[in-house]
């Protein structure tokens, strides 16, 4: 089972490689990838340096070109694919059928992975991408229960990658427009959810802090409450006169406890989310995931998560809490 780790810059890439990743995924410095954040991502020179560093140590590098090419602007996505091909990237992670079509036409030998942003949750959908673009792997959206993941694995010949740790999308990826509804920018169109340019932090009397997204109140923190980034689906709203986390709490996905199960059912790779996070986060999470995967693989019957792993992962989680998310049916 391959461990695939995020890198938003060269120090993170090195941290992933040094701490036991089998593959690192990166994006280029524009809206062709779903972490289109200021100061993040790679240009040709830094990508080349990262590739050299990783390959010298037997680690693969994937390029995420996983937003949707916007009409009339296709050339940007085309250039990103060409750049990845020129760099001899090990695989492209793509979401848009137009971009996949271009990659197949122009670079037939490139290895293509289906991004989670393509939103493929079922074997028929995977068959579409296999037939048309010969995808070599697919990342499943974080909406399936563990049993449903197994059913997909049994019904498809496409090797499957699943999310193992990191920020949790509540909505099926690639079909969530909440961010553009509030801000005009979405993962599909712009490569960012709840983008920083739309965020307002407002201090109010009595030490109250309000977080807004394009003026929409996402959350309000009383004195002593820990304030978090206003990701739209993780705010507190009012439904039927109750105020609560109506969609989801600020929390991160953590699958350590189900690793042997994922391994047994034939999952090809485990992905860590977080290209926007620091090199320290990447180092910490990669190291723990490496230890846990190795332990699960060598002793599937008696694998147990270590309290210290869970504790360390909790520290780097949103809201300092973790969940199994949709893998665990009661969460749904």
């Amino acid at each position: 089972m391959e461990l695939v780790c995020p890198a938003g810059n060269l120090p993170s890439l090195k941290a992933a490689v040094d701490n036991g990743a089998n593959a690192v995924y990166i994006g280029f410095k524009d809206e062709t990838n779903a972490r289109h954040f200021a100061g993040l991502n790679f240009n040709e020179k830094s990508a080349q340096a990262g590739l050299t560093y990783a390959k010298d140590r037997g680690v693969k590098v994937f390029a995420a070109i996983n937003t949707y090419a916007q009409g009339g602007d296709f050339i940007k996505w085309q250039n990103a694919v060409d750049l990845a091909a020129d760099l001899s990237i090990d695989a492209l992670i793509l979401a848009d059928i137009g971009v996949m079509d271009y990659a197949c036409d122009k670079h037939p030998d490139l290895r293509l992975h289906l991004s989670v942003q393509a939103s493929a949750t079922n074997p028929e959908s995977l068959a579409f991408y296999l037939r048309n673009f010969n995808i070599q792997r697919a990342v499943l959206p974080r909406v399936l229960s563990i049993k449903q993941v197994e059913q997909v694995l049994q019904a498809t010949s496409v090797p499957i990658e699943v999310f193992g740790f990191g920020s949790l999308c509540v909505m099926v990826e690639g079909r969530c427009l909440l961010s553009s509804y509030a801000t005009g920018m979405s993962p599909n169109t712009f490569g960012a959810c709840s983008p920083a340019s739309a965020v307002q932090w407002q201090e109010k009397p009595n030490d109250i802090l309000e977080t807004r997204l394009n003026h929409v109140l996402i959350d309000r923190f009383e004195k002593g409450e820990k304030a978090g980034y206003p990701t739209l689906c993780k705010g507190r709203f009012e439904v039927n006169k109750n105020t609560y986390y109506a969609l989801e709490e600020p929390t991160s996905l953590n699958t350590l406890s189900i690793l042997p199960g994922l391994f047994n059912m034939g999952v090809a790779a485990i992905k860590v989310e977080g290209r926007q996070r620091s090199p320290a986060y990447v180092a910490q999470v990669t190291s723990i995931m490496r230890q846990a995967i190795d332990a699960a693989q060598s002793n599937r019957e008696n694998f147990q998560t270590k309290a210290e792993w869970m504790g360390e992962l909790q520290k780097v989680s949103e809201g300092s809490q973790t969940t199994l998310g949709a893998y665990h049916r009661p969460w749904q």
């Binding site: 090419a69 916007q70 074997p123 909505m171 099926v172 079909r175 427009l177 553009s180 394009n214 929409v216």
Partner: protein
Amino acid sequence: MMNKQINSNTKPKLSVGPIQYFWPKAKVIAFYQQVAESAIDIVYLGEVVCSKRLEMKFEDWLEIGRQLTAKGKSVVLSSMTLIEAGSELSRMRRVCEQEEFCVEANDFGAIEILSQKNKNFITGASINIYNERSLELLSQQGMTRWNLSVELGKDQLAKLHQHRPNGVETEVLVWGRLPLAYAARCFTARAHNLPKDQCQFKCIEDPDGLVMKTREQQDFLCLNGIQTQSALTCNLLPELEVMKTLNVDVLRISPQSEHTFEVIEAFAQALSAPENIEHLNSKQQQHAPSGLCDGYWFGQSGMDLHQANSQSIRL
């Protein structure tokens, strides 16, 4: 195949999209009896949100389809949007494999089944088509009509239409709460503190969904089971002339529990007598449960209201 360039003087057709909410069977039947007598040309039928909603069985939808066909309506069966369980996969296959009606694919799985059977199909707004190359590729697979993603606007549509393949019609949602997201989790059950597997079908109590307000009492989103919608209703009535110029073929109205037929009538009248659009539009606000929006069409935030009466922008 007809050429779009010489088709610019024909009026766009009106469609009614699939019912997004969970309504009792009697209400569904009454609704389509009224649709049968309305100005609607195309009717999309079927459950697209949650497979646990079983007031209407597959055969019930087929029967309604036959009745509407007899009344001269063009009928399309819509497939489910988010496919998770094996039973949902079976249901999607059943919709795609029936031979009686054309199918609206709302997941790439449905596109795969339909194209492998060499059946033409329509794509719903949740099929991601953002560029000319995607449009061309799906046209080659058998797509004869596509719905513009609700987050795209007229400038993007104009760019895509520069390369629209022959024989492909374009449909745009012109009225309704916007479908914005789908999840494994049922937010209606969560609002009632119930797990999804014991949801008690609570969403049948909310025929237009359950409004989620900000803590400043702004109607922001609308919870509809596993689907999240905008609370505001998208209204593009004032843009009908622009739609004609852009050669939009079909205008979609999304059903709501009340006033759907006043809205259909307003669009039908506006198409016949464009000089009345301003007057007709002045009544649209009262047909929307939480107010209006149209921002996506103008390349802005979806919740914005760009129309002349923009003093009612809800911020």
